[in-house]
Amino acid sequence: MQQSNYAIETQGLTKSFGSHNAVDQIALQVPRGSIFGFLGPNGSGKTTTIRMLLGLAEATAGTISVLGHAIPEDAGVALPHVGALVEGPAFYPYLSGRDNLARFDSADSKADPKTRKARIESALARVGLTAAAEKKVHAYSLGMKQRLGIANALLQPREILILDEPTNGLDPQGTREVRTLIRDLASQGITIFISSHLLLEIEQICSHLAVMSAGKIVAQGSIAELSFSEIHNLTLKTPDADKAISTLNSLDIEARNEVGLIKANVIHNFIAPETIADALVKAGVKIQGFTLEAPKLEERFVSLTGEGFDVAR
């Protein structure tokens, strides 16, 4: 087995439904040990990509390598090391939470039946479901099912966790617990691949990101790489709008007046914020507020994937 630096790597990965490319020539590179955020609006191809990574759907073109194993050919070798939550949890409603986990665990021929009970109990404890383990799943709330789905992904020591929208249906408390759990797992060296359309969730915990839009990856890299080499936003609050704009123009900064606020795009490291403030003060511009900062992930996301409720295509 060739040892790759990437836990997951795809080349030219494409999935077509008829003439429509749901996933179009994507080259994912998920470094080992990273918390990799997989972002994109609904319908951008995230879940289709995840299905291909897990061998559930066949790629139309391209290659997939998970832990150095080709998918789907060697899925049987790779998948025991991968825990996943795909497009929501799914269980047998007439079985208890504990029996559902036993069912999925017995499908894994590599899972040791002798340790099954202990592994199930520890997975249940990890997501705080021990008290509800005997309840039938049809009596579970959406949040409890989500937790049980995460427990199912944790039945074995894994090298990769693929979590598709893991905090769907969880209350803020539950969301925070999941974030803590993910950080905790990542600190043990597990690679976490987490897809979401909720930016806040991802921004707080991820080390790497890929952004999908209309089947293509429009940005990929570490958080640092993605936030720098970046155009930063200048916002100035002042009663002296005209004077401020001419001063900024003299600094080669193209400024505009937006409803009482002066705004400008400034290339990062092109000019220090204190230099700008200094020039404004010297020109006699009264400053009521001044910020120069990297765009938030959310703005970046919208700029990459388009605004509004429109599905990508």
Binding site: G76, A102, A107
Partner: protein
Amino acid sequence: MLRDKFMEGFGTLVRSELSVLFRRRRTWAMLATIACIPIFLAIAVQLSGSTIPPGEGPPFLDRVSQNGLFVGFTAMILAIPLFLPLTIGVVAGDTIAGEANTGTLRYLLIAPVSRARLLVIKFIGASAFAIAATATLMITGIIVGLILFPVGPVTLLSGDVISIPAALLRIALVAGYVTISLMGLSAVGLFISTLTVIPVGAMAATVVVSTVSQILATLPQLEIIHPYLLTFNWLGFADLLRAPMDFHSMAINTIVQIAYIAIFGSAAYSRFTTKDILS
């Protein structure tokens, strides 16, 4: 080596499949309904009191009141055309489509279990239900027969009289014969179940296959294809009720059912192993 790999953890998953199947209320409801067939039949015969002239009603009906051991046979003949195929349709049609519908299929496959293995296990599950169904029917038949009617040595179709233990052996053989028939239908249901994510559709289609096959078997114009029909030999276990026992029809039916299992099993395999699981 390959065989060892395939068998690794196989028993565990078979146990899991059976436990999931037999912990469903639906399974028990169907078995309970099957048990009602001999019970109602026996009660009806008992209440009517009058002796039924030979040749009226289902075969053996006239003998039920004379010998309780005939309850099971008669109930079986009543249940073969529609009721047993209906229950098999539910179980076999649900095998893959039901898991796909609830989404549990994707979690089984990424556990991971190979698709070929999952198909084999699903077929084993459906066959186990077929065994449970025929056994339920026959055993209930024997029990109500014992309660409501005199039981004694059995007069066979050939006129020979056999002892009670020998009769019980024949009852078991008939149950086995019907089980094999139902396994053929299970393979058809398994294939249909790989085509859809709507379990009810697969269940209905499986029952339709069995019904259409029985209709075709009644059309004399289609005589040439009759021997190849799934259901053509389903009622042909009279041979087992003669002395000496004749296994000819059992052999023919078994061959036909094995052919159906092979054909529809391969079709299910080629369909399921190339299918995108998008549910």
